[in-house]
């Protein structure tokens, strides 16, 4: 639900990073915050527990600058991944324009990925949204770890609709901007 503000000539789009606990959603935002020029981004707001687990969300606004007279901005959000924070996750999805699913490539996290993906479908459906119809990309994170599922297996389990997917090592920034570029272009296309 992008809001177009003709009075202030602004377009704001909401992109949500979704996925199971500890998959690297916050790490994606932290890397983006670190690398993007300070004058094109706002503060990184993190509502986290004392142990740095996301409690409610992380939030980072990134300015694309003025496009044909409209100041265009992406609002990047993460959700808390842990299963019992579903009420919070649902709230963050309100008005979402694009979704990044961050999957954890480790073999032992495959079930958690599948559960989180189902949860994403369910929560979106409560807003009348269908993942097959909104801008959506998948990032397979932690590809550098020794115990990862093969890309083919992850694709088979998590990506039946063959949306764009990216391999990543978010702590080192690998794949982070490929993912962001892909989802933001899809969101922009959906405006036209």
């Amino acid at each position: 639900m992008s809001m177009i503000n003709y009075a202030s000539r602004e377009i704001n789009c909401k992109i949500v990073y979704y996925g199971p606990g500890l998959c690297g959603k916050t790490t994606n935002l932290e890397y983006i915050f670190e690398k993007v020029a300070p004058n094109t981004r706002g503060k990184l707001i993190s509502l986290a527990t004392e142990t740095e687990r996301t409690l409610f969300f992380d939030f980072l606004p990134v300015d694309l600058g003025a496009i044909r007279g409209f100041k265009t901005r992406f609002h990047l959000y993460t959700v808390p991944g842990q299963v019992y924070y579903n009420a919070s996750r649902k709230l963050i999805l309100k008005g979402v324009d694009g979704v990044v699913f961050v999957g954890d490539s480790q073999v032992e996290r495959l079930d958690a990925n599948i559960e989180s993906m189902h949860n994403l479908y369910d929560n979106l459906s409560e807003y009348g949204l269908d993942l097959r119809e909104i801008p959506f990309v998948i990032q397979y994170n932690k590809r550098d770890l020794p115990n990862t599922s093969s890309l083919a297996e992850l694709e088979a389990q998590l990506n039946p609709n063959k949306v764009p997917h990216y391999e990543a090592v978010a702590v080192r920034g690998i794949g982070v901007f490929d993912t962001l570029k892909a989802v933001s272009k899809l969101v922009i296309k959906s405006l036209s």
Binding site: M3, I4, F59, G95, Y127, S192
Partner: protein
């Protein structure tokens, strides 16, 4: 939950003029410092009064989250909603009120006025704002949801995305 904030809408110059006039009147009557109108999805719609010296983008996302979380708390205790929230500080306080289930009016005030005054004046202005916003939503719903931006906008935005995120 479907419906609230689920569809796109646009905010035009004439909407801004009407709303700003209302908010200026409200500020004058209530003696509040400033008001912010925040969309339920966390986007800032407009501000009136003293220019806030904080990050309004972050503020809007947090205010919407605050309101949404309280909405869920309300339903857990069997209430339909908490139509307003009050946060009291030592010097600065804020009062948040729902407008037409889609927008939140945030009022920042200090000891130049009282909570009672803010509450009374907010009630009146929320009624008028709700009417304006309902008109706006009806207009957006009635408008064809076809292309809102020309292809040139998309091309230019894509170039900008490549430029901004390209070498990072």
């Amino acid at each position: 939950m479907a419906g609230a904030g689920a569809s796109s809408w646009s905010f035009e110059e004439r909407d801004f003029t009407r709303i700003d006039r209302l908010l200026q009147g409200f500020l004058y009557d209530s003696n509040a410092r400033c008001t912010l109108l925040v969309d339920r999805t966390g986007q800032l719609v407009t501000t009136a009064g003293e220019k806030p010296d904080f990050d309004t983008t972050a503020f809007a996302s947090l205010a919407a989250a605050d309101f949404s979380a309280n909405d869920q708390l309300a339903s857990m205790i069997g209430e339909h909603e908490f139509s307003s929230l009050f946060h009291q500080g030592e010097k600065e306080s804020m009062y948040l009120a729902d407008v037409a289930r889609r927008v939140i009016l945030v009022v920042l005030f200090d000891n130049r006025t009282t909570l009672g005054m803010i509450r009374i004046k907010t009630k009146a202005v929320v009624r008028e704002l709700a009417e304006i916003f309902r008109e706006m939503f009806d207009r957006s719903a009635a408008a064809p949801q076809g292309s809102r931006f020309e292809a040139a906008f998309v091309d230019e935005a894509e170039d900008e995305i490549d430029r901004l995120f390209g070498d990072l």
